[in-house]
């Protein structure tokens, strides 16, 4: 087996720290912005920027942001998946800057799913 470099160890540590945070409930949850070609062309980067700004402004300390690829519903992009600890993930569709900030405030921070923007609940396993 190849030797791990220091930077690989550092990455491993970061990844595990993040997983542990989510698992132990230190992180309230995770927001995944889908960043496939379809998502990017539909404005996913603007959605990401708006989310990061809102988190910074409101000092949201216990939420983790990730990007992933195409979710297979290109016509519904930009999309995001919100995964709160111990709950089924929720997929949100046709997003824009205002919608993602509302999802952050209502679902992620206050626990109530923004049903009007949601596609479905429980279509993915809880990670």
């Amino acid at each position: 087996m190849a030797k791990l470099t220091i930077s690989e160890l550092q990455k491993l540590r970061e990844k595990l720290a993040q997983e542990r945070q989510t698992r132990e409930g230190n992180a309230r949850g995770q927001i995944i912005i889908h960043m496939g070609t379809c998502g990017i062309a539909a404005g996913a980067r603007k959605v990401m920027t708006a989310l990061l700004e809102a988190m910074d402004k409101q000092n949201v300390r216990d939420v983790i942001v990730n990007t992933s690829g195409c979710a297979g519903m290109c016509s519904k992009e930009p999309m995001a998946t919100v995964q709160m600890a111990q709950q089924a993930p929720v997929k949100y569709i046709s997003l824009n800057e205002e919608k993602i900030v509302r999802i952050l405030n209502e679902h992620v921070l206050k626990g109530s799913v923004v049903k009007e923007y949601a596609l479905a609940m429980g279509s993915e396993r809880v990670g």
Binding site: S7, K11, M35, T37, L52, D56, V65, C70
Partner: protein
């Protein structure tokens, strides 16, 4: 895609889906030669010969259950409509390099656009990947290496609020924002 920064985001996301641990992005505005070069290089799993041969075909994809793969064809079209071209170099197990060249002054060359937002999205959205960035233009040279950001974070995830702030701060210090 209406700006080159969005193409860069898209192609770099390909690198990440290919398992890259390091992604290098170089943007060189060579006004004297009237050329704009964009290079995205990764150490991901690379492509086999057949995939490489079809990489610019919009109706080719390696993803199961999909019929199109538009990222590289869109960048190729953007380069060719601006008097340029694209080269994709890749080998199974040895990573991939995508180089797009544009005629800098061409009327149909898309603007570079918001590079800062693209880099921020890449860095924060992919906390396990290292990015090395270089932008050379007549105004000077900008660089960023996420290993420096990681070292300053002392183990806090790059996609937590501490990481987000540190990324923004580093990008400001280096002139990206």
């Amino acid at each position: 895609m209406e700006e080159l920064a969005l193409h860069i985001l898209d192609i770099a996301e390909n690198s990440i889906r290919a398992g890259a641990q390091t992604v290098e992005i170089e943007i060189v505005e060579d006004v004297q030669q009237d050329r704009l070069h964009i290079t995205i290089r990764d150490n991901g799993k690379g492509m086999d010969k057949r995939t490489l041969r079809h990489a610019l075909d919009p109706f080719f994809t390696t993803k199961v259950g999909k019929r199109v793969g538009l990222g590289l064809p869109l960048l190729a079209a953007a380069a060719r409509q601006a008097g340029g071209d694209i080269a994709v170099r890749s080998k199974r197990g040895a990573g991939t390099e995508v180089e797009a060249v544009f005629q800098y002054s061409h009327a149909d060359r898309q603007p570079l656009g918001n590079l800062g937002a693209t880099l921020e999205t890449l860095i924060i959205g992919n906390p396990d990947v290292d990015f090395r960035l270089l932008h050379r233009s007549p105004k000077g040279e900008k660089q960023l290496d996420t290993r420096d950001i990681r070292a300053a974070l002392n183990g806090a995830p790059i996609n937590s609020i501490e990481g987000i702030r540190r990324v923004k701060q580093s990008m400001e210090e280096n002139g990206w924002l």
